[in-house]
Structures are given as C-alpha cells and as structure tokens.
C-alpha cells in the first residue's frame, strides 16, 4: 500500500510538473513590449520621445480638414455619385459640423492620446536616474514644445479645453477634470514653450538629430501664441530672437516643399515623412488632394483613386497678384475633369514624383521662416504701427516671390496686406483658418465667410453637376468660430460643457 501511495504521489508530481512553475499563471504577450518594464534607460526614453514624434504624423495627416477646408482657401471636388463622406468631411466645407461629426471626435481623441504620451514620458523622465541631465533636458524641451503646440491647436479649435499635464494614475481620475478657461491654457502653453526655448539647441550638431524641435521652433510658436493672445509687444520681442538663429528664405519658393531639400534653411519645424520603402513612414497628401477623377494624371500612378479634397477655390486662385511666382508653385491648373471638361484645380505643394504607389516623400511644413517674418510684420504693426522694420520683413517675403516692395501703407492697410501675404505665402499649410480667426472678430468673420460662401455657392469652383445644395450649406453662424465638443465626450462625462450654439 505504501508503495502504491508513493507511486501515486510521484505520478501527481510528474503530471502537474508543467503547472508547478511559480509563474504558471503570469503570462504576457510574447510579441509585444510590456509598458511596465519600459522607460528603463536613455535608449528607451528616447524611443518614447520618438513615439511622440511619430504621433505627430497622424495628426498632421488630417489637419487640413480642420485648418484649411473650412476657410476660403479650399473646397471639395464634389462627388454627386457618392454622398458617403457628406457627414464626415464635407461638413467642414459647408459649415455644418455638429457635435456628432465623426472627425471632430477622432481629432479630439488623437490630440489627447498624443498628450497622454507626452505627459507620461515627461513623468518617466522626471523619475529617471539612468539618463544624463543634458539628454533629459533635450527630451523635456522637445516634449514640452509638442505639448504647447497641441494645446495651441486645441484651444483654437475649442476655446476652453481640459488642461491635463500629468498621466492619470487610474482611468477613473479622468472624470475629475473640467474645461479650463482659455487664459489658463495659454498660460500653460507659454510656460511650456518658454521652458522648451531655454533648453533646446539652436541647431543640432549631430546629423541624426536633424528634424528634431529646436529653440527657434519654440520661439516661433511662442511668438504665434502671443500674437494670437494680442500680446503684441511680447510677440515682437520673442519673434525678434528668431532671425539671429541663422534662418533665411530659400531663393526659389518651390524648393521649400521639395523632398530633395528637406529641413532647409527656411524650415523651422516640419513634420518628417519618408517614402520609397516599406518602413511605413510615408506621406500621401497628394492622394488626398488630387482631383477625384485624375487617376494617375497627377500622382503618376494610374491605379490611383484620389480623394479630391482640399481643392483650391476660385477665390484663392484669383487672389494672387500678377507675377507672383508662388501661384504656380502652389496650385495646379492643368487637370480637366474627363466628365465635365472643366479644370479642377489642385494643390501642388505636396505633389512630387515618388517611386512607390501611394507612398510619397513629402514633409509637412509647420513653421517656416517666412511665417516668422510675416508674424513680425503683423506684430510690429499692431504694437507700434507699420514701421520700416515691419515693412522690411514683409518685403523680404514679397521679393522672394518676385513681387515689388510695399511701403507707406497705413496701419489698417498694412494689416490687410500682411494678412493677404500670409494667405498666399502660407497657402495650404494649415494656417488660414487660425489667421482668419485671429484677425477678425467672430461677427466680422461671419460676415466675411458668408460673403465668400455666397459666391462659392453661386459659382462653385468644381461643378456639382446639378445636385442641389442642402439648405444649411455655406451658412456660417458666429458660434461656429469654435468647433463643438464631441457629443461622445459629453455622453461619457456629463460635467463637460458644450460650446455655445451647439447641441
């Protein structure tokens, strides 16, 4: 009997051996890196910072929808046969965005997801002991810049927004936050950008760092923030620190967008992409922007099925002064619809030959030196009037475009001139909507847009082939200077308030 029991015992041990391991019940996905064990050293913290940069691409890929399409710069290549995109994309063109508009929700979500990774990486950096102080400061500055940039965009879109600068310990804490007044948001942006400017280098000495955020980027954005806040003196003093950092305008305007000449002397901050390989970092803007029926005529790849979004308007096309070299570099007028025979204009800035279908190499310019020069002109004019310094900045930009100097304008006229110059210089670079919001009161903007809308409605840039407009199309109401908080967010957190005018 004893023998039997011993035999049984040994059998139990033998059979259960596979389950006797101490960690039998702790399994993790072998194909992925666990978040718990990450952020251990400089290399991993660096990867986390790169990850934050990586999310920038996703945000920039769709930014035209929020920053350019609602403006007078662009419209759509209307598709009478497929109304599927009407609620999600066309709403931005026709100003019929509501709190349920899917792209409002997805935009909101993508910004706060990016902010989570910034906040989380900053928190991990603060506790990191295995990283040099200089590396830490560099990472911190880059992350703070991006946090400032995202909050700047968010507060332009929504006004008061929830301000969150730390990763949540537990998800339930998310219900504790309410929208912060815009002033607080600006204060945070200023703090972040000042801090970033103090820590970031003017230039990266190691080539492998080219494309990272610099001191110049932080100062330029801070200047833009001050300008938006109408803190003109601060804007001037901040922006004046940028030219000494060594930026210059490239002689040929089209070179600014040439993938062969990325991160040139005029570039202050651009979002990096890479085509021509399988690494997944390509851009594809031209596939979104080329006319719907252009197939390969513009992209160069016959199997293309382009989106026909963000089409330059008649209003935009006619706004260029005669002899402005930027017109040809910015807008293509060489494509005719095979159905109607009409010219369908398209944005040329991001149209360059590429070796693999669907994968372009074009970067996206966020901050350029010409933007800084025009901001300086604007800020000086607002602070002290159209001084010769202000004129000088404006004329630098005009001269490069092959246009004559301007002088002797009054403050109002100079302001209008700078705004016009910004429109053509920075066309389709996602600044027009904010420029319009910044330089006009909501009532002025309402009047302005409805006037533009009436013209576009009467004589659309791209024909609608008889499809009538809906009654709400191209009717702008002043509350629409802000986007609605996504209804989904209010559903989840009832404490969240909606912007006036929206349901």
């Amino acid at each position: 009997m004893k023998k039997n029991i011993l035999f049984i015992l040994s059998l139990i041990i033998c059979l259960t051996e596979f389950s006797c391991k101490k960690d039998f019940l702790s399994k993790t996905d072998p194909t992925r890196v666990g978040a718990n064990d990450f952020y251990k050293n400089e290399a991993e913290l660096g990867q986390a910072v790169n990850g934050v940069y990586g999310q920038l691409q996703g945000i920039i890929n769709n930014q035209w929808l929020y920053n350019e399409l609602p403006s007078d710069n662009t419209t759509i290549d209307f598709n009478p046969g497929d109304r599927g995109q009407a609620p999600s994309i066309e709403a931005f063109e026709f100003w019929t965005v509501n709190s349920g508009t899917g792209n409002i929700n997805s935009m909101y979500v993508s910004y706060y997801n990016a902010l989570y990774n910034i906040n989380n990486t900053l928190a991990k950096l603060n506790n990191a002991t295995t990283i040099s102080d200089s590396a830490k400061a560099g990472f911190k500055g880059q992350l703070e810049f991006l946090r400032g940039y995202y909050y700047f965009e968010l507060t332009q879109y929504f006004g008061d927004v929830i301000l969150i600068t730390e990763p949540l310990e537990v998800p339930s804490k998310a219900w504790d936050y309410e929208r912060a007044p815009q002033a607080e948001v600006y204060a945070q942006i200023e703090t972040d950008l000042k801090d970033a400017a103090s820590m970031l280098p003017a230039k990266y000495t190691i080539a492998a760092d080219i494309g990272r955020i610099t001191k110049g980027a932080a100062l330029s954005l801070l200047g833009k923030v001050y300008l938006t806040e109408k803190k003109y003196t601060d804007a001037v003093t901040t922006l004046q620190q940028v030219p000494p950092l060594g930026y210059s305008l490239v002689p040929n305007y089209a070179d600014v967008f040439d993938p062969q000449k990325k991160n040139g002397p005029e570039s202050i901050f651009e979002v990096q992409y890479q085509g021509g390989n399988d690494l997944g970092e390509w851009s594809s803007f031209i596939y979104t922007f080329a006319p719907r029926l252009s197939a390969g005529a513009i992209t160069g790849w016959p199997q293309s099925n382009p989106g026909g979004w963000n089409i330059p308007t008649n209003d935009m096309i006619s706004t260029y002064e005669d002899g402005d070299k930027r017109k040809n570099a910015s807008i293509g007028l060489d494509f005719k619809s095979p159905i109607t025979g009409d010219v369908v204009p398209y944005i040329k800035k991001y149209d360059h030959p590429h070796s693999i279908y669907g994968r372009t190499d074009d970067d996206w310019p966020v901050l350029r030196y010409s933007d800084v020069l025009l901001m300086l002109a604007e800020a000086i004019n607002e602070a002290t009037g159209p001084t010769s310094e202000a004129e000088g900045y404006l004329n630098q930009v005009r001269n490069r475009a092959g246009l004559a100097n301007i002088s002797g304008l009054g403050k109002e006229a100079f302001r209008a001139k700078v705004l016009h110059e910004r429109r053509v210089e920075l066309a389709f670079e996602n600044w027009r909507w904010f420029d319009l919001k910044r330089t006009q009161t909501p009532d002025q903007l309402t009047q302005f847009l409805n006037a533009y809308g009436a013209v576009e409605k009467a004589n659309p840039t791209v024909t609608r082939q008889g499809t009538p407009y809906s009654s709400g199309d191209y009717v702008f109401q002043s509350y629409e200077v802000l986007y609605p908080i996504p209804s989904n967010e209010i559903l989840v957190n009832a404490k969240l308030t909606q912007n006036d005018g929206y349901q």
Partner: protein
C-alpha cells in the same frame, strides 16, 4: 497501435463476464419444479445483460448474462418478473420453456436509473439536483450532420441552437439559457471525454463517434468548471465498446442537397433591370427638370429594355444543386474480457450548395481501457482528424459572393461567346462593377485545412475500498492552414480585371494540455449515501501563427509565395493558463433527501495581478416527495422530486492580455533616417477579474403513468455581473476605453420538457417536447453611461440599454414615404428629402431628423418570446419513424442586405418588389419601396428592414427499417431514408430565419448568408 489492439482482442474470452448462473439441485421438490432457460432482448433484438429474473412470491431469482441468457428453476405455472433499470418490468407465466424463449423488454420513457455524465464524474439521473439535459444521440443517428452541434437542435430546453449559415461543416451557434454577457461571449464550454476544449467544439469531431451529450445548465452543475462555467457546459462522451459485445459496425449515408426555390431571394431579370434603369433615368428628369424626357436622352444601354441580350440570375448561377452528401463510418468494438477497445474510422464528404465549396472530414479514433488488476483501471483515447474546406468563410454577406450575386448587373452573361468567363459584371451606365461570382468560386482558391490530434489517458487506483484516485492527462494539437490565391483574371468591386494577383497563406498551431487529479470517496452508511470528490486541474494553451502574403505575380501559373515579387510575412504567439482546486460533496438519505455542494478556486493568467484567483461555490438540494410516507400512493405517479440550486460561476473570455498595457510602435524619421518609437497602447488594469454569474434554479421532475410519461419544469434566474466590458473613458485620459468589471445582465426563464413512451403490442410511440422562455434584461452598464451601441452608418445598429434586453435592433423608425413636397414641408426637417423618400420619426422631438443617432430608437427585438422543439417517433414491427420540429416565435431580424437590394439609385440590381416603387404621387407604389430619384436616408438602419422571423422548421424526418434476423452472418441491418431541413414555415423574407451572422450583442443581423440546403439521404447501418 493496431498490433496492440489485436493483442487485446485475442484475450476477449478470458475473464470478466458478468455471469451468474446457478443450477439449484432439486431432489425433494422435483415434481413441482421445472428448469427453464431463456433469453432477454431489447426491442431492437439486442441481448440485455443484468436483468433481474425473479419468481413472484419466492426468494429465488437470477440475472441475465452478457448474452441475455438466464436459467432458473421455478414452480410450474409461476409468474416470473423481469426487471431492469430504464425498462418497463415484465411478468410472464411460465408453463414451459417456450414461454421465456425470447423475452422482449421495452424501455421506459424516464430513465431514472440512467447514469448521467456530469462534471468530473457521473451521477445517477435519479439523484440529480441540478438542471441537466441529456441528448439521446441514438435517436438522431440518421441526421446528415457534419457537425456535432447539429445534434443539439431542438433537443434540450433552454438550449438555443441556430444554423446561422449553410456553409458545409460549420459549427452551429449554441446558447444556453440566454445571452449572459455583453462583452465576453456567450458560447458554452465544451468538454469532450473530460477534456475542456474551449468555447467552440470546432469542426473536426465526427458526429458518428458520439455516444452521449449532456448539457449542464444551472450553477450547481457548472460551478465545478469555475471561471468557464457561466454560459453552461456541454459534455460530450465518445463511443466505447459495450460490455460483453464484439461488434463491427458499418454505416453509409448518401444524400443530395438543394436550395429550394422558396428560399431564394427574387431580384429583377435582365429585361426588367434595363426597364428599371430606363424608368429611373426618365423619372429623374421628370422630377428635377420638371419635363418629359425624350427617348434619345436615355443612355443607349437601356433605351430599349426589350432588346436586352442577356438575363442572368446570378444567385442561381452560383448554386450547386443536387450537391452530394456522403458519410461512411466503420467501427470495431470489443467489450469482452478485462480490456475493452474500439477503433473507428470515418469519411465525410459534403459538397456545398454553392459551387466548388464543401467540407471533407477524415477521422479515426481509438480507445482502449479496462481493469489492469484489482486496483488499477486505465484508459487511453486517441483521435486524429483531417478536414478540408474549399472557399471557406468567403461567401457570406453583401461584400461576399452570396450578397453580391443578388445585386450585380443581370444584363451580363456568365460566359463570353468564346466560352471564356465574362470577368467583369456591370461597371457601366452607373451600375457597379463586380467580379464574376462563378469564376470567383471556380478560379480563386480559398482553402482551409484542419489537422487535429487529441489524446487522453487516465489511470484509476482503487484503494481502501471506497477511495479512488484518478490522474489523467489530455492533450490536443490543432493545426490549421489557410491558402488563398486570387488570380489576375478576377475583377474586384469596381475594379476590372486584369488586376494584381494575390496570395495569402497562414498556418497556425495550437497546443492545449490539461491534467486532472481526482480523488473520490463513495460509501453507503445504512440509509445515508456519501459521494465526495476532490480535484486539481491545470490547463495551458499556446497558439503560434505564421502568415504570409504576396503580390505582383509574373503570371497566374504558380500560386505560391515564391513567385510573388512583393511579399510580406508575420508571426504571432499567444496563450493562456489556468489552474484550479475543486471539490464536490453529494449526500443523500434514503434517496429521498438529496444534497449537493461544489466549490472551485480558480486562477487564470488572463486576470490582473491583483485579482488572479476566484472562488465559485454552489449548493443544491432535492426532495423526492413521492417517497415520503405521508404521500398517498397514487397509482399514476411513479416519481416526484422538487429541487433547487444556487451558485456562482464565471466567464473568462476576455482575450488573453486585456489586463496588461503594452508599447505600440510609433516610428518616425530624423535626417531622412527611420527611427523606432514607442507609445503606450492602453491602460493596464491590475484588478481585472472574471465575469460573475449567480444563478438560482428551481425544478420539478415527475414521472407518471408507469413511467410512460416524464415531465420536468424549471425556473431559473441568472444574474451576470462584473462583466468584462470595455468602459468608455473621457478621451482626456489618453484613451477612449479600458477593460473593467462593470455591468449586470439578467436572464430568467422557464423551461418545460416532457417525454412519453408507450408500447402497444408491436407498436411503440414516443415523443419529447420542450419549450423555453427566456427573458434577458440589462440591469446596469456603467456608472454614468447606460447604453452600449454597436454598428455603423450604412449598416445596422444594436443597442443595449439599461432596463431593456441586450442588443435591441436600433435605427430610424420609418413612418411611410413622403408623397409630395407639402408633406415634407409639414414634417420635421429631414435634410435632402424629396417625394418618395422614407419618412422618419423625429424621436427627440427637436423638429429635425438628424443624420446621426439622435433620432434612432429601438426598432426590433431579436430575442424570441419562446423557442421550442418536438421530436416524435413511432416504431412498428421493424419500422421506425422520427420527426423533429423546431421553432422560435416572435422575434425580429434585420435584413441588412436590403440596404443594397433596395438601393434604388440604380447602381445595383434590386428586389422584384421594386417594380412597385414610388414613382410619383400618382404612382405611389406599394408604400414602402422608395423613389429612384435620390438615395440617402433609405440606406441607414431603419424599421423597414426589420422583419418578424417567427418560424417552424420540420428539421428532420427519418424512416428506418430493420431487417428481420436471417441466416446471413449479420447481427443487425437497418436501412433508412432521411430528410433534413425539409420544410420551413415562416413569413420571413430571407432564406434562413436562424441567420445571426454577428451573434453576441449584435443579434439578428441578416446580410444574406450562405443558403441552408435541404438534404434527402439514404443510408444503411450494418452490425456484424
């Protein structure tokens, strides 16, 4: 293997025959006594062993041996009583030996003496205190089934079995006592010969190998499976040799399958479609330009509809009518001697009702086991199978062949004049272009294979008289492969061939190992009976996947990745582990008071670090009132028992790593060089645990009229809480959702089942009927939020709201069709509406029908008020007949396909009923088919596409004939004819009211699935 079996078979005559034969020497009463020998057989002429044979009023008695033989000495003229569990007792007056030469015994309807397989053991049915249904597989053997789950249809109360697709070989959808979970799935756990194989039985288990199926429904039965028990458990036992018999059984079944015309969706033919296009074109000018168009304005292609050259019914073209069904099985069983063994092999070949689809299964099984010595019993079971499935999973719905065949241009021929395929259907005059579905089915290779090997082994030690210890191991190896090659000749939707050919290959290997250690104690103390089980189990599963895809082939000749110019590949690995300690105690006093308690403590790798282990207790009690002395002895009542149970179970189907947070790739470029970056995937939740179900069950079992009638009624109330749900988070947290344990769902219901069996002379009738009422209700979801909505625009929606059933069909409520502009102006603003457009209800009353969810309401209830099943049969002499009816009443399906087949804008072919559409106020049509002038509101989820799917199926009729005993060396020969899915009675317009393509919390979705065929088959079953 076969050598070993052969060896055992040779020992067959050695020992362990249950034979008790004694010859009473009679000296003193020789005059009055006679010695008689006889045979006891079943109604099917099989010998019945172990039958008690007693002389009435005397102590003398004996029992039959393995061949059913007995010899007894009795007084001449005495009455012999034959009794055996599950059989009606028989009394015979003995005058001479011929009176007992052949005693035929008939089973009772109730099988109270029957032993039922329960979790980790068996129990006498008489003593059950839980809700357990058994499926009498022997009654279902004629069904042409390629999957085991087919056998469950209509057989057990509380068990809903739906054939959601007619795709050959596919598992049916099985739900026990309602959908209990919003997030973790509601499929039961399947256990085959003690091996928990998961929430899917898979495709490869040969239905012919099944001996019995037991379904555990209430908590006291399922709690012993702990965190996998809450959706019920299906226990499947495979065949083994019968004691004392050596048999060779061969079965053959051959059938043909058809899709009856009544189950086809009717669309326009070529001429009608051209007319439709023409009218639509002209109506547009009439409406928008307010003038009469001239014939020359109509595009030439449909200017003269009567001249349309071709008319193709694409759905008919893709059908493979008279598809063959073949099933052959051979089993050799030896139940003689100490060691029993069985080997079987099967081949099943089911052609699909769509061309070039089908399912083939090759299976082999062997088990061997028995008493090694006084202390040790052992068993070994091996099952190997291989199946192939061409065109698997590539046929269902609008975006696949079946749906597309309804909406593609009927004016195109299948073949060109030169006999080649017309490879692009439509694609002109504003009609969408499609691949040729016939060519797709014939030329695009899409093949699944499954190769499984499953082995179980156990040893059982008997010691200290009442103790048994049984360690066992189970292992399953499952290999699956998929290979798809779409040649360049196949068009895409709106993309004419030639196109880039593509190849997709994948291979997965899953290994599942479990071990059980069971210690049992079993003893009677006078009137007290005690049954104790203590056990330990551990299980681990690991799956590895490898996949590759290729593009840009130089030609279509070599469909392998090697010849692709662009290739990509991937690999994956995932798994889980669990371990548990459990125990069960059954106690009964005089068989009158019954108690049972179980407990399981289980840990799972899927749960958060702070919540690894859970406890699952359950209790039950039963009271056999009929045995109480105070109960009057009623002649009609044989047995009456009431019982109740309560317990907690769990559901761990939340994905393997849901509690963890990972780093996702988010790469970037610096200085035109790729750099790797990482971002956080989600919140970790260390407290994530199992979903809990608490179930209370009360039942009554009775047996009456000499056990001819049995009846069971059951009430249950199951509350599932701590559901594993994705909780929506404010986006500012960084994420939109995280997994949490929240929410509550209730399923409560009533189940009734009755069985009847009566034999009058050579005529036996029998029947089983069951009906189930289940009500489910969401009691809570999350704190702030109170609904879960799933679905999307241009498709369906389901909504689960607090206080309402799970997954109600959701959308706009259609109030009619706008007849004129005045009506539109009076109605709340519905943007873009013109006469002929669906008129929707302004649910939120704000004066605007908004193009989002705000005006959507519940528009259909996908849950039947009741479901039922009736199986009736009759045996007359050598004939046997059985009929299975099943049905479900008062529930809705959402005909999502109608958003396409009633898409009136001319890009698709449309339903025949579209001829009766709205054309103008003067020609308003039937009142529910919209205008062709615009198309927007009609494509969204709305009440027009909701249909009552109440139905009755005559699921199977089988008629068999058993040949009388003859001189042939055949023990038993039975031939039969059988019809499966014979008649469907329903007003539902789709081809299958059981369709539920999405299941779970998205019930009732019908996007035109693979048609369910009707099968007629003939078969034979020979036993040597």
């Amino acid at each position: 293997m076969s050598k070993i079996l052969f060896h055992f078979l040779q020992q067959k005559n050695k020992v362990f025959l249950f034979m008790l034969s004694f010859f009473l020497a009679s000296f003193s009463f020789a005059q009055q006594k006679i010695t008689v020998s006889g045979n006891v057989i079943t109604e099917k002429n099989a010998p019945l062993a172990g039958v008690s044979v007693n002389e009435k009023g005397s102590a003398s008695g004996t029992a039959t041996d393995a061949q059913g033989r007995f010899t007894i000495q009795v007084n001449k003229g005495a009455t012999l009583i034959f009794s055996f569990v599950d059989y009606q007792p028989k009394q015979v007056v003995v005058n001479n030996e011929s009176d007992v030469a052949s005693i035929s015994m008939v089973p009772t309807a109730s099988s109270l003496g029957e032993v039922v397989v329960v979790g980790y053991g068996t129990q006498r049915k008489r003593n059950l205190t839980g809700a357990i249904s058994t499926v009498d597989v022997s009654k279902l053997k004629d069904i042409s089934s390629a999957n085991v789950t087919r056998l469950l249809v209509g057989q057990a109360p509380g068990v809903t079995v739906k054939q959601t697709t007619g795709s050959p070989g596919r598992e049916f959808q099985v739900t026990i006592r309602g959908t209990g979970s919003l997030g973790a799935g509601s499929a039961p756990l399947y256990v085959v010969d003690g091996f928990p194989v998961g929430t899917s039985i898979g495709q490869n288990l040969n239905p012919d190998d099944i001996k019995s199926i037991t379904i555990l429904k209430d908590a006291v039965s399922t709690a012993i499976y702990g965190a996998r028990g809450s959706n019920g458990v299906v226990l499947i036992t495979t065949k083994s040799a019968r004691e004392g018999e050596v048999t060779l059984t061969a079965t053959a079944d051959y059938g043909i399958q058809n899709v009856p015309d009544s189950r086809k969706t009717k669309v326009l033919n070529g001429v009608e479609f051209a007319q439709f296009k023409k009218d639509a074109f002209m109506d547009k000018i009439r409406y928008f330009e307010n003038r009469e168009p001239t014939i020359d304005e109509v595009p030439l292609d449909y200017r003269y509809p009567e001249q349309t050259k071709y008319s193709t019914n694409w759905f008919n073209e893709i059908l493979n009518q008279n598809a063959a069904y073949q099933n052959y099985n051979l089993a050799l069983a030896s139940g003689k001697g100490a060691i029993h063994s069985l080997v079987s092999a099967g081949f099943l070949n089911q052609e699909g009702t769509l061309i070039n689809t089908g399912y083939k299964l090759y299976s082999a099984r062997a088990n061997i086991g028995g008493q090694v010595n006084k202390f040790i019993t052992m068993g070994l079971n091996i099952d190997g199978s291989y199946s192939t499935q061409p065109q698997a999973n590539a046929t269902e719905g609008r975006d696949q062949i079946v749906g597309a065949s309804l909406i593609m241009d009927p004016r195109a021929p299948v073949y060109n004049a030169d006999g080649t395929y017309n490879n692009y259907i439509g694609g002109h005059d504003g009609v969408f272009g499609f691949y040729n579905p016939v060519q797709m089915l014939k030329e695009a290779a899409k093949n699944y294979t499954n190769t499984n090997a499953i082995a179980n082994a156990f040893l059982e030690f008997t010691f200290l008289k009442n103790f048994k210890f049984k360690p066992s191991v189970n292992a399953g190896i499952y290999n699956a492969s998929y290979k798809q090659f779409v040649p360049s000749t196949i068009s895409g939707e709106n993309a004419p061939a030639p196109r880039d050919a593509s190849e997709n290959d994948s291979y997965s290997n899953r290994i599942n190992i479990s071990t059980d250690q069971l210690l049992t104690f079993n003893k009677d103390f006078g009137d007290h009976h005690l049954d104790v089980l203590a056990g330990y189990t551990a299980q681990e599963e690991t799956t590895k996947d490898l996949s590759g895809s290729g593009n840009q082939f130089p030609d279509d000749l070599v469909p392998y990745l090697n010849s692709a110019i662009i290739k990509s590949s991937g690999s994956d690995e995932y798994g889980w582990s669990m371990q548990a300690f459990f125990g069960r105690l059954n106690y009964s006093y005089k068989g009158r008071y019954l108690f049972s308690g179980t407990f399981r403590r289980e840990g799972s790798s899927r749960f958060g670090t702070k919540n690894k282990w859970g406890d699952f207790p359950a209790l039950s009690a039963g009271w056999r009132i009929s045995d109480e002395p105070f109960m009057p002895k009623l002649s009609w009542l044989n047995d009456l028992k009431i019982r109740g149970s309560w317990g907690m179970t769990g559901n761990n189907n939340i994905g393997n790593y849901s509690s963890l947070s990972f780093m996702n790739s988010s790469n970037y470029v610096f200085d035109n060089n790729y750099v790797s970056g990482r971002v956080v995937s989600s919140f970790a939740n260390a407290e994530l645990g199992w979903e809990k179900s608490t179930q209370t069950d009360v039942g009554i079992d009775l047996s009456a009229l000499d056990n001819h009638l049995t009846f069971t009624a059951e009430y249950y109330d199951r509350i599932t809480s701590n559901m594993l749900l994705s909780i929506q988070l404010p986006a500012i947290s960084g994420f939109t959702s995280t997994f949490g344990n929240v929410g509550k769902v209730q399923n409560k219901g009533l189940e009734f089942s009755a069985g009847y069996r009566q034999t009058i002379n050579a005529f036996t009738v029998w029947g089983n009927a069951n009906i189930s009422f289940n009500r489910n209700k969401v009691l809570a979801i999350r704190g702030v939020n109170d609904e879960i909505r799933s679905g999307s625009f241009y498709s369906d929606f389901n909504v689960s709201k607090v206080g309402r059933p799970i997954g109600m069909i959701y959308g706009f409520k259609m109030m009619g069709i706008f007849q004129n502009q005045a009506e539109i102006d009076k109605w709340p603003t519905q943007d873009g509406a013109i006469p002929g457009v669906y008129k929707y209800w302004d649910a939120d009353g704000n004066g605007v029908i908004s193009y989002d969810n705000k005006d959507m309401v519940e528009i259909g209830n996908p849950w039947p008020k009741y479901t039922w099943g009736v199986t009736v049969g009759a045996d007359f002499k050598n004939f046997d007949l059985s009929v299975i009816f099943v049905g479900a009443a008062h529930y809705d399906n959402f005909r999502n396909i109608e958003a396409s087949t009633l898409n009136m804008d001319g890009v698709f072919n449309v339903l025949e009923v579209s001829k009766d559409r709205f054309r103008s106020e003067a020609q308003p049509g039937n009142g529910w088919v919209a205008t062709t002038n615009t198309w927007k509101w009609e494509r969204e989820s709305n009440s027009r596409y909701v249909y009552d799917a109440t139905h009755t199926w005559v699921k199977n009729i089988s008629l068999g004939y058993t040949l009388p005993k003859s001189k042939l060396p055949i023990n038993n020969l039975r031939v039969y004819i059988s019809a499966d899915n014979l008649f469907l009675f329903t007003k539902y317009p789709g081809n299958n009211p059981d369709v539920d393509s999405r299941g779970g919390i998205n019930p009732g979705f019908d996007d035109e699935a693979y048609p369910v065929g009707r099968t007629f088959s003939i078969g034979a079953n020979v036993t040597f």
